[in-house]
Symmetry: C2
Subunit: 492 residues, 2 copies
């Protein structure tokens, strides 16, 4: 071990004007130098006193840096021999002397493969320029500017100001009990869902609800029926667990159960949106519902019922849920508050058959432990004190008005080139395009004019005969709807 | 089709005192009767007028119920023949006449298997009675009563009262940009993490961070190194994707890399907590860190660095992160705010190598779209305006005091029957029990006295020679710590 020549640290550009403290700059320099191989194990380093002198700085930051490097095991000291680079660092792990080149990103990418999991490819979504716009016709966007934010923020404030300790510590993976009770009561009254609070699992939204269902119920390579066309998030969820997705066509009565049985009679699970099919908007008929329940009871399949927006049914009350008709406890009911409240809330729920509750709770716990409590507590009060029901009623009127405006605008501008389907309920409708029109190209074109029109073909597993666009009308005012329709038709 | 005898609805127990509206009770009765087979397809039902008369109620609810049942496809009407049960409902899907028996839960469980996914078994945790208590010695619990809740609630209020529309609609799967910027700056300054905001992915906590890593990087049956003993949540995350977990022992220098290579030299990923190993508390030595980085760069393995509580290092500044030493972009750095702020916040983050950002964003999007925005916006301000750093400083002093109290209490009460390990940092320490003492039995016993002591053996994949308990001291005051220690020792 030879003493380093004085001035062995010329490459340390100590930046006295930097926010990074001097001791940090120094210890970082040492680490780099050791990793890069500029300082070798056993090599002696200057004393704090001489290094401070060398660098013309106070000795205090040098002492701090050395102390840190001792704690981290980069430096060691032994009696009579001063301080040196820890000899425990094996030579072979260090970079060769031409470290700069070795450390370059180009080299890094050549050194070993950078493999991500295969499932990731199935989860990527194409660039969605049509999702960059709000207003007309962003799908799933409620009327944010009509949300009673002042009233809501009072509920937030009530729980944020002096939360009881239980609302700040680790919570139940199933969710905050008062909210679960409020949801069970609401679903029983309004949606004919038969459940009690013990079956309600609070999620961070319906996408997490679908993931929990997939992880709790489906093995890799299990066949799973999915509506075709259907909600792309469902494909993501089932691909995450490596399921074999079996697209089953829908017709005016909803999912074609006979065709599902023909394609795969022993699917492990089936996903449906029976109240208001996404994206085509039909309601599943009673006959099909009973046929599906019967098939599931016979084969042991699970039915995942997604009821993402059925609060908004026009001309009649919300339809009865499939879950409420199920006498064999085969239905898992997935819901969300994103569409009724606002998307950034991230609160949804699953209604779980009683005997499956422990399995679902275990999956939720493994996923992300539990949901943040503040919004759950505020929402429980918002529901119980009647604000939620009032907001739904107001929005139902508003969305009916907006739907009417959209239908009128299509009638006025489209000259029969848009064929509307699925208008009885919800927050969006689908409009079929003239044969031969590429809906993705159209959506990209329209997006450039500030109008969001989601292409229908991306909801299909099997390419559809006719393209179309999904037009959300809930988040746009009548003026935006008229202007949006005009621009959309102009791009046709 | 014969006309039903008058009074065919005797079993409808219309409850006039119920909260459930009359039309709901009626339509629900019809649905049940059709599903149960008491009413058959094509069977005629009374007119609304005669049914109202029969039941001695107003005609209005009967009209509403029928309207609903028409919409749902249970009833149909045809000219000249009145109303009947929809003939489209195929006979074979309905329950046989002895429907009551068929629909019983007992029968249901016999009708078809009720299989959940195999992975669920690996995710279940044993009953943890020791997690029912707060205070001494709940692991991972910060000093909630010292959290600056009044100041924090002002930040909440600032963003809850009049949020810009962007904070209410769908957000970026990577997270709220101002928070990502604040975190990147914080990590760069305090934790020597080298990143910019584009690499920060906001999560709902470190458990979700681990799940996203597992799903983005690991295929089923891929070998993954895990510290033994280690954090049980990590096992849950890797079991979720069906990984083959390879337990790698830790010693006083942290993960034994040589032993890992011996057990499986081509692991796809490795999980480590190098700053403050969970649960034993040692710091990974520089030699081991370099050896691990070198092995990963050579083999293409990913390193998941969990830095769950390194804000709290006593006697010295926080240690440099492994991520900051990595010249091959192999380290994914996982962190959380649950330990510094409060657990119910549910905000954590991942620092993702730049080329992996699209893959991680796709997984997060598929998982649950994005994190709720309110807390993200409030936390960004809380960090930027210096409250966060101030809180950490205050807690570091407080936890040092509590740690000292715990060490003194153990010294005073335990009579050398508890051997303390890992006390340089963090919010908990591990105490080994005398040989032969069953730590799970002890934890259950102590829990009954209101004291939480998490058994060490449950953190092991391979049964340890000696049991122990993990004692969290951050969430308990000095009095609770002394009392807790006394009760713990009394149960020995």
């Amino acid at each position: 071990m030879k003493r380093l020549p004085a001035g062995f640290l010329p490459s340390v550009a100590l930046d006295t004007g930097s926010d990074v403290p001097m001791y940090d700059q120094l210890s970082e320099w040492f680490r780099r130098a050791i990793i890069d191989g500029r300082l070798r194990p056993g090599q002696r380093v200057p004393s704090t006193r001489s290094l401070a002198k060398e660098l013309d700085i106070s000795r205090i930051p040098v002492l701090s840096a050395y102390e840190q490097l001792f704690a981290e095991g980069y430096l060691e000291t032994f009696i009579g021999a001063g301080t040196c680079v820890a000899r425990a660092i094996p030579d072979e792990v260090l970079k060769p002397a031409n470290a700069a080149e070795y450390a370059s990103p180009k080299h890094a990418s050549q050194s070993a493969p950078r493999k991500v999991a295969q499932r990731v490819d199935g989860l990527r979504t194409p660039p969605q320029t049509w999702a960059n716009n709000q207003g007309a016709f962003r799908v799933g966007l409620p009327a944010i500017d009509h949300f009673p934010i002042t009233s809501w923020s009072k509920f937030i404030n009530r729980h944020a100001r002096r939360p009881p300790i239980e609302q700040m510590v680790y919570g139940d993976p199933m969710g905050h009990l008062p909210l679960r009770e409020a949801i069970a009561e609401y679903l029983g009254t309004v949606r004919t869902v038969r459940c009690d609070a013990s079956q309600i699992l609070i999620t961070t939204g319906s996408q997490q609800g679908l993931q929990i269902c997939a992880h709790a119920l489906v093995e890799p390579n299990d066949p799973v029926w999915m509506e075709d066309p259907g909600y792309p998030g469902v494909r993501q969820a089932f691909r995450t667990v490596g399921a074999d997705i079996v697209p089953v066509p829908v017709d005016e009565e909803g999912l074609n159960v006979d065709e599902g049985i023909r394609r795969n009679s022993h699917a492990r699970a089936v996903y449906i949106s029976p109240s208001h099919q996404f994206p085509l908007g039909m309601t599943m008929s009673a006959a099909r519902r009973l046929q599906l329940l019967n098939w599931a009871a016979r084969t042991g399949a699970w039915i995942i019922e997604d009821d993402y927006d059925s609060e908004y049914r026009f001309g009649g009350r919300p339809l009865a849920s499939l879950q409420g008709m199920d006498t064999d406890d085969r239905v898992i009911y997935v819901g969300t508050f994103s569409k009724v409240m606002f998307p950034a809330l991230r609160v949804g729920y699953i209604v779980v058959p009683k005997d499956l509750v422990p399995a679902f709770a275990a999956v939720r716990d493994a996923f992300d432990t539990f949901s943040s409590t503040l919004y759950q507590a505020a929402l429980a009060d918002f529901i119980r004190e009647g604000q939620f029901a009032r907001h739904i009623r107001r929005m139902r009127m508003l969305y009916l008005e907006r739907r009417t405006a959209l239908l009128e605008a299509i009638d006025q501008y489209a000259d029969n080139r848009l064929e509307v389907v699925g208008t009885h309920a919800g927050m969006q409708l689908a409009a079929l395009l003239p044969p031969g029109v590429d809906d993705v190209a159209l959506s990209i074109k329209v997006a450039k004019k500030g109008v969001s029109a989601r292409p229908l073909s991306l909801c299909y597993a099997e390419p559809p005969k006719r393209g179309g666009v999904i037009l959300g009308y809930s988040g746009a005012n009548v003026h935006e709807i008229r202007e949006g329709t005009r621009k959309l038709v102009a791009c046709l």
